[in-house]
């Protein structure tokens, strides 16, 4: 990296210095690249490689990592992630579909490429296109940071908090004794926030028994974790507005940090009906693609926290815009992260530059497991493990890590595996 940084003034020169530029005729780039040639740099994307990566771990089987590696004519490479749970092969194919947008193009024009991928896809992005764009966007930012010799969070204006990015782990404790163990471990590690869920699946209207069970579960968690730890509860959109409205009101005395996805994301007014009748803070957004999909949430003042996922919303560019849009409305950002480590590490960069950042998720427990071991083996540092309750900021340029193809190829793609499929007692389709 260092020799290239020393020379970067050369290859970052804009096209008007014709001597520094290859002949236009010799360049076989996409149309968009030609249009921007007079103001771009001499750096060119020369390769787009996709990697499906299936970790041999039960919890990771439905979400093989969708990684992309962009290569350039300067030797600098960028890595990005667009893991879409349950739809891995579709995203890998979609990244390939964008190859023509990229080969021969200048990687520095990240916003230009984002716009082109979004607008020129015509069918504005859904989760597959959004995730493919996310992978490419992260890789472009990685290259950018490396070429400019700066970690991405500095390019974005960070760090807001020099100590790092506050995070939370997941709690899967089923009884008070286990909950108290989590409390002790969190205290030992300096972790200040955790998240849990509610048991079972919920019909459109629910029985007294099921509602009481959910409320008692949340109460038991608060009682055993104590008042110092912030608690988020993920309803995972498995409750209807009718059921969620009852639950969020019942748990008001528990002072939760938030209740997440109290209903599915397609109907913003339905979400507003829930949030308008309770003081429990409401969070949502992990399934949303592009800032466009967050506009109504912000405009209508529906939620307190937005949780867009860097791997689906459309990468660093899109996550940053969501945060910018939420800031003047006093809405906090707590990004979702339950896929691979590249997207998670990329998120930390964006978090670090948000004045309205709340807390960063990672789908890991207070005690590291198999998955975290593999991540450490890849990066040579304990990726997405907190120190004193915060994710440390990387110091290297770009996204701040080195990764080789051989390392990810060690866990070859085993194909798309569906996410969980669950059913109610009458056999009808249930959400989880």
């Amino acid at each position: 990296m260092e020799p290239m940084n020393m020379q970067r003034r050369d290859f970052l020169s804009v096209g008007c210095g014709c001597a520094l530029m290859p002949q236009a005729a010799q360049e076989s780039g996409p149309l968009g690249a030609a249009a921007m040639r007079s103001v771009g740099t001499k750096v060119r994307i020369t390769g787009v490689k996709v990697f499906g990566v299936t970790l041999p771990i039960k919890e990771a089987l439905d979400r093989p990592y969708c990684f992309v590696k962009l290569e350039t004519n300067q030797g600098v490479v960028g890595w990005g992630e667009g893991t879409l749970e349950g739809k891995a092969a579709a995203v890998l194919a979609c990244i390939e579909d964008f190859k023509e947008f990229l080969i021969g193009a200048d990687p520095m024009l990240v916003e230009h490429h984002w716009q082109s991928m979004y607008v020129h896809s015509f069918y504005r992005a859904g989760p597959v296109i959004g995730s493919a764009m996310a992978a490419i966007d992260q890789a472009l930012w990685d290259i950018r940071g490396k070429l400019l010799g700066m970690p991405v969070y500095k390019l974005l204006g960070g760090p807001y908090d020099p100590e790092g990015v506050r995070g939370y782990y997941h709690v899967r404790a089923s009884n008070p004794a286990e909950m108290r163990e989590v409390r002790a471990k969190a205290k030992e590690l300096g972790v200040t926030c955790v998240k849990s869920g509610i048991p079972g699946y919920y019909e459109w209207i629910e029985t007294r028994e099921k509602i009481n069970r959910a409320v008692n579960g949340m109460r038991t968690l608060r009682e055993n974790l104590g008042p110092e730890i912030d608690i988020g509860i993920d309803f995972h959109a498995k409750t209807s507005p009718a059921v969620a409205s009852i639950l969020v009101k019942e748990v008001e005395p528990l002072n939760l940090l938030f209740v997440e996805e109290p209903c599915p994301p397609e109907n913003v007014a339905a979400m507003r009906k829930i949030s308008s009748r309770s003081t429990t803070p409401i969070a949502t957004g992990e399934r949303l693609v592009a800032a466009y999909s967050c506009r109504e949430l912000v405009e209508m003042g529906v939620v307190d926290i937005i949780q867009t996922d860097i791997n689906h919303v459309g990468g660093i560019t899109a996550l940053w815009k969501v945060a910018a849009m939420a800031e003047p409305s006093g809405i906090k950002i707590a990004p979702h992260a339950c896929e691979g480590p590249i997207g998670a590490l990329a998120t930390v960069h964006v978090d670090s530059a948000m004045p309205n950042f709340l807390v960063q998720e990672i789908c890991s427990g207070v005690v590291a497991g198999e998955k975290e071991k593999i991540w450490e083996e890849w990066f040579g540092f304990p990726a997405m493990r907190m120190v004193n309750g915060k994710f440390p900021l990387p110091t290297k340029p770009g996204l701040g890590f080195e990764l080789t193809e051989a390392q990810v190829k060690k866990y070859p793609f085993q194909g798309t595996k569906p996410m969980a499929r669950v059913f109610h007692q009458d056999g009808s389709v249930a959400a989880w």
């Binding site: 209207i205 007294r208 507005p241 009852i246 009748r277 109610h424 009458d426």
Partner: protein, 303 residues
């Protein structure tokens, strides 16, 4: 499948309708008591028409008769296709149907677990309740009742007042989180759409004997994008119960079916104990059409 004959059997609490096609296929339906004028009008409309045209019939036959005609036409279609009606409609979406009935110890002993009660009640473990004040309250009283019911966790509060004034009932939905059910008296689907848009409804309660299978199925499609459940109202005869079971098995957002308490006379009328409940659930019919054999002699004899 050309309809040749419409016969109506007016009873004290419902009107049964029998359609017969030129090639001898028979379909049964049921609706709220229909007037002789309505029966004559439906007959004039339908005789000579293809029995599969139930969507066209929805626009031509008005009032409760449209429900009976819809069930009977679907019954014929199912019999001709040798398939239960829910298979014609893209089902089944479930393997059994959750039941709701009026509260009595007898109903509890019969296997029911969810009950309609007229007002406040004492919660009991393992049982669930729908509070139905039968529109006797004002919107303000209804709002107070809804708030006082919050801690009892009823399944929902049903039709506490007349729903005509959306502004008035919006107050109930805004002031508490007790779910609200409306719809038994609705005469046009646009009323349901208004309720959904105004966010005053948590359970769509169109009446199987007033609205029929197809209209409620459309209301369910509307409600689905609002994450709202459908739980058809039903206080009629057992032919309508059969129709309701097929409807339930064709909906993704069905929650519970109100059903009168089973008795031998009702079972005899439709040739089977379709209203029998086991641990809170009704069984799905499996025979073609509505899956019932209407006993015409019994039907003629009943009041």
């Amino acid at each position: 499948m050309i309809i040749e004959k419409l016969e109506a059997f007016p009873k004290s609490s419902f009107t049964a309708v029998k359609l017969t096609t030129r090639d001898g296929a028979v379909g049964w339906g049921e609706c709220l008591p229909a007037t002789p004028t309505a029966i004559a009008a439906a007959t004039k409309t339908l005789v000579g028409q293809e029995a599969s045209r139930y969507e066209w019939a929805r626009t031509q036959v008005h009032g409760p008769m449209s429900a009976a005609v819809n069930m009977a036409m679907l019954d014929i279609c199912g019999k001709v296709a040798k398939a239960p009606v829910y298979q014609l409609l893209g089902g089944p979406t479930r393997n059994k149907v959750r039941a709701l009935t009026g509260w009595s110890e007898k109903a509890l002993a019969a296997g029911h677990r969810a009950f309609v009660v007229p007002g406040t009640y004492t919660p009991r473990d393992g049982l669930d309740f729908v509070v139905d004040p039968e529109r006797k309250l004002s919107a303000g009283q209804a709002s107070s009742l809804a708030a006082s019911l919050e801690k009892s966790l009823p399944l929902w509060l049903d039709e506490p007042c007349p729903p005509a004034n959306l502004g008035a009932i919006k107050k109930i939905a805004t002031e508490s989180v007790t779910p609200l059910g409306w719809g038994r008296g609705v005469t046009n689907l646009s009323e349901v759409q208004n309720m959904l848009r105004e966010q005053v409804i948590d359970v769509v309660r169109l009446d199987i004997s007033r609205h029929g299978i197809s209209t409620i199925r459309k209301a369910a499609a509307l409600a689905e994008t609002y994450y709202i459940a459908v739980a058809p109202y039903h206080a009629g005869g057992p032919i309508a119960t059969a129709a309701a079971l097929h409807l339930a098995a064709s909906l993704p957002n069905f929650f519970i079916q109100q059903v009168p308490l089973a008795d031998p006379a009702r079972a005899e009328l439709v040739g089977g104990d379709i209203e029998r409940v086991k641990d809170g659930f009704l069984t799905l019919p499996t025979k073609p059409g509505l899956g019932i054999e209407v006993n015409e002699g019994t039907l003629r004899r009943m009041a």
